[in-house]
């Protein structure tokens, strides 16, 4: 979970007619497009059989939609909503949810509490819509007692959330879905596969013709800072604050919030892109870097990862 990333999966997804398209490209790649988690999704297959690619694509889309349905905090039937409605009582979760909570717990401790899946309640007063509506400090302070993963009682398979607190997997979920869909497709398909969900992506290997050419959109940069990368294996994830900030008296308030104060981390980069072994790993490194604010670049250098930082 990236701390309080407002509305990362809030946008609309077609409920009745999810768009789904298969396109045989001229470069010998079959592309499958669909929409999931409010993101345009893309599955690239080094294949020639359009029908088989379509079958794999539908399995991929199905898996993405399954993960979205299961973990979206916007869906009343999701496990996250069930946990958030529990009002202090224990909720038993399945293995997959337990693995995600375990992961969040380890990230929380590795970040010394800066990464926190309970920080979403801050969205009640922070609306990062590009306006100048900075919340009242008292309102922010009033929410702080509802934040802190250390207040959550997590003893697999039981999670007990103090009443009023909420969790969400907004930031982890998409990266997790990318890796999972890649694993699912690679299990059934021998060629090179690339899974791209709205810029967070992963691949099992490069096609015979050469590495994947990946274009990464860099937000708010008039287009000239579009990053072109060559990817052979692993994951790539970008954390950024495209359109999600407040601007007041010349101060830019990023949507990356410090859970200890409830206020934005100062001097956050516009975007951080990280390459790592998996999309999940790349995503968490990018998020951790954002949380470092002005020290993002030195943090990434310290971790010894390939990264592209934009200020």
């Amino acid at each position: 979970m990236r701390p309080a990333r407002a509305a990362v999966d809030a946008a609309w997804r077609p409920p009745h007619a999810p768009e789904f398209e298969v396109l045989a490209r001229e470069d010998g790649i079959i592309a499958v497009y669909f929409t999931a988690m409010a993101s345009p999704c893309e599955l690239l297959l080094e294949a020639t059989d359009v029908h088989a690619a379509g079958q794999l694509g539908s399995a991929a889309a199905q898996e993405a939609w399954r993960i979205e349905t299961k973990f979206s905090r916007y869906r009343p039937e999701s496990i996250v909503s069930v946990i958030n409605r529990s009002q202090g009582s224990a909720v038993a979760v399945d293995l997959e949810t337990a693995a995600l909570i375990d992961y969040a717990a380890r990230c929380h401790s590795l970040s010394q509490g800066r990464f926190d899946i309970t920080s979403g309640v801050l969205r009640r007063c922070w609306k990062f819509d590009g306006s100048d509506r900075v919340p009242n400090p008292d309102a922010v302070a009033a929410l702080l007692p509802l934040i802190g993963f250390e207040k959550v009682l997590w003893q697999a398979p039981l999670i007990t959330l103090p009443a009023g607190m909420e969790i969400d997997f907004g930031g982890i979920g998409k990266e997790y879905a990318v890796d999972r869909v890649l694993a699912l497709v690679a299990e059934q398909f021998a060629g090179a596969v690339l899974v791209n969900f709205g810029g967070d992506l992963a691949t099992n290997r490069a096609p015979a013709a050469g590495p994947w050419q990946v274009g990464v959109e860099r937000p708010d940069t008039e287009g000239q800072a579009r990053l072109l990368l060559e990817l052979r294996r692993g994951g790539l994830a970008t954390s950024g604050d495209t359109h999600r900030f407040l601007l007041r008296d010349g101060v830019r308030y990023s949507h990356i919030l410090d859970v200890r104060t409830g206020w934005p981390v100062p001097a956050v980069p516009r975007s951080v892109t990280v390459a790592a072994g998996s999309c999940v790993e790349a995503g968490i490194l990018a998020t951790f870097a954002m949380l470092q604010g002005s020290a993002a670049e030195s943090f990434l250098i310290e971790q010894g990862v390939q990264h592209w930082c934009l200020r």
Binding site: L95, L100, Y103, R106, E187, A276, S278, G304
Partner: protein, 434 residues
Amino acid sequence: MQLKRPVSQLHLGLMAASCALLSSTARAQTADANQPPQIDQPLQIDADLLYYKENAGRVQTIEPIVSLKKDFGDQRVLDGTFTLDSLSGATPNGAIPAHQPQTFASPSSSSLTPKPGAKTTLYTIAPGDLPQDPHFKERRVAGDLDWSQPLGLDNTLSYGGHLSTEHDFDSVAAHAGLSHDFNEKNTTLSAGVSEEYDRIHAHGGNPVPGSDYALYEKEPNQTKTVAGGLIGVTQVLSRNWLTELNYTYDRSQGYLTDPYRILSVVDATGLVASYRYENRPDTRARQSLYWVNKVALGSTVLDLSYRRGKDSWDVGSDTVDARLRIDLGHRVYLEPHARWYRQSAADFYSLYLSETGPAPVFMSADPRLAAFSATTFGAKLGMTAGRNGEFSLRLEQYQQRPTEQSSSLTALQGLNLNPNLKATIVQLSYHLEY
């Protein structure tokens, strides 16, 4: 540009955590493997009830419609609709109002004057009133079946049929269409053909077109055919703007006359001298150009269309239709609707015939062939019901204003010969997806 550094402790921790997450779910994956992912194959059910009522005791209909749509996967879709239409009320017979009472026979009568052993239903219209047959009743049963499927990667083939039956009218129709996507599915070209065959067997027989009403001459059953074609182009203009342009042409042939419509024949002063059955040409070619736009303005969607129509009877028409779908929260939407229409009169249309002038070959006083303008205003309110349902209510008001409503002839002074038509449309809908 980065320095190559050894992997840090923190990075190792994150790596381990990520691996643990992904490997634990890999186990979950194998456990789920006996349930292969499937594409949704939803069944959509629509149940609608339409209530249509005209002012001044004229026609009202109640029309239940049930529609089923089944997606068999791979974009192969079967769509069936069943309609039951019960119509009752008074319907204008084409004669004009007069300052004297006027007496007519309902079409099912075997003669205009009561005879022993023959069934005759007469109705008398009070002075100043529009002559309408008060006994009008009809029930229509109609079914539609459509199939559409991909043909190759970029084409869609669709075909279907239509059957409908009434006491006095049967219709069979079939259509087929092909559409081709290109330019990354941003452009679609469509073409289609249709053929309709109708049998007309009016209550009491089909009158001989143009004959004297008093003679009550009837003919055996009649038929008509309609052959049509359509070409269209659909274009994505931007992320939030979709446009379509269609050109349609159809040609009707056969008995195109309305068996229940008559015309008043008046003398030089405007007094009704007699009545005649109407008579229309036996061919009619129609063309239309239809342009529709779908524009998303934030969460609101505008549907704006314009249609220009033209036919070989010289009826020209313009239609502008606008709908705005406004989301009020996640569960409720409001859709205001406005429509404006105008048409010019058919070249053989007249309010009445004159005894003195030369008798025309083709003639009709059907208000639908007159020059008029019409407006519709209304709104639809929809809300989600349960997880997969939607309920909606549509209320609309339709009004027709004929251009020509009076005559300068002395005996017709002070009479509204073709009054305005007002109708209320109420539609209740329930949509469910499995």
